[in-house]
């Protein structure tokens, strides 16, 4: 049962990444990114990170992808320009990325991981909420501040763009 789910999620992720790698159309790439992100959300559920999976769906698939697609449309489509884009330095990119992949795979294969079994926590979300406000309170407050700064900054930048 779980192996079917795993294969399905793997296919989602690979199909999404494959489309991003080979398409020249930015909007198609944004949609394929959404497919990949949903597949990764499924992976999060399989590794018992349910809250992270829902956050991924809400913020990444529902937020970032919409922003990207919106960005493409604001800049290109309304003025009737093409949404295709090319690439540079293909061979350097291939060599470096294959090198990165091979290096990471080598490191993973030689690392001696020892897994311990942890009993499954029933109320994971409550525990995460408590640790947000106790152990991770500084990071939590800082994130709130950064979000405020990002909100104000994005609004200011967009206002400047509208005035031009």
């Amino acid at each position: 049962m779980i192996i079917t789910v795993q294969i399905f999620l793997l296919m989602m992720v690979l199909a999404g990444v494959g489309i991003i790698l080979f398409t020249r159309n930015i909007v198609h790439a944004a949609y394929a990114l959404c497919l990949t992100l949903l597949g990764i959300a499924g992976v999060y559920v399989l590794v018992m990170s349910e809250l992270l999976a829902v956050v991924q769906i809400m913020l990444y698939a529902g937020g970032v992808v919409i922003l990207l697609a919106f960005g493409v449309m604001m800049t290109n489509r309304l003025r009737g320009e093409k949404v295709l884009s090319g690439s540079n330095n293909k061979w350097i990119g291939r060599i470096i990325s294959v090198g990165v992949f091979a290096g990471l795979c080598y490191l993973i294969s030689i690392s001696p991981f020892q897994t311990t079994s942890v009993e499954k926590n029933e109320d994971q979300i409550a525990q995460i909420g408590v640790s947000f406000l106790t152990d991770h309170i500084v990071a939590f407050e800082l994130i709130a501040f950064v979000l405020l700064v990002a909100l104000v900054g994005a609004a200011y930048l967009a206002k400047n763009a509208a005035d031009e």
Binding site: V13, V17, I20, L21, A29, A30, L33, T36, L37, I40, V43, Y44, V47, S49, L51, L52, L59, Y60, G63, V64, L67, G71, V72, M74, T75, S85, S87, K90, I92, G93, R94, I96, S97, V100, F101, L104, C105, I108, F113, Q114, T115, T116, S117, V118, N121, Q127, I128, S131, D135, H136, A139, I143, L147, A150, G153, A154, L157, A158, A161, E164
Partner: protein
Amino acid sequence: MSEQMLTYYLYLAAFLFASGTYIVLTRRSAIFVLIGVELMLNGANVVLASFSQFDPAMNGQIFAIFAVVLTVCEVSIALAILLNIYRKSRVSNLDELNQIGNT
């Protein structure tokens, strides 16, 4: 969850990271580069989440949630800047962005 299964997730993360690197290095369009950055960040998050299941305090998952929130900030600011650049100089390819100052 066996060690074997864990390494499969890590290979997936490595694949995501490497393809993100390729896209960041080669693509001309700024939005494509952002997509590549998202893929790399997701690769990192997969690693964090898959180790987090062995941690009773779930620090990996919490860290990954913070990373997701920060990414949303990053993308929104980046797109606002791109929109500004585009309105000013009609350029959306990164190669052509080679001037600084009020041109």
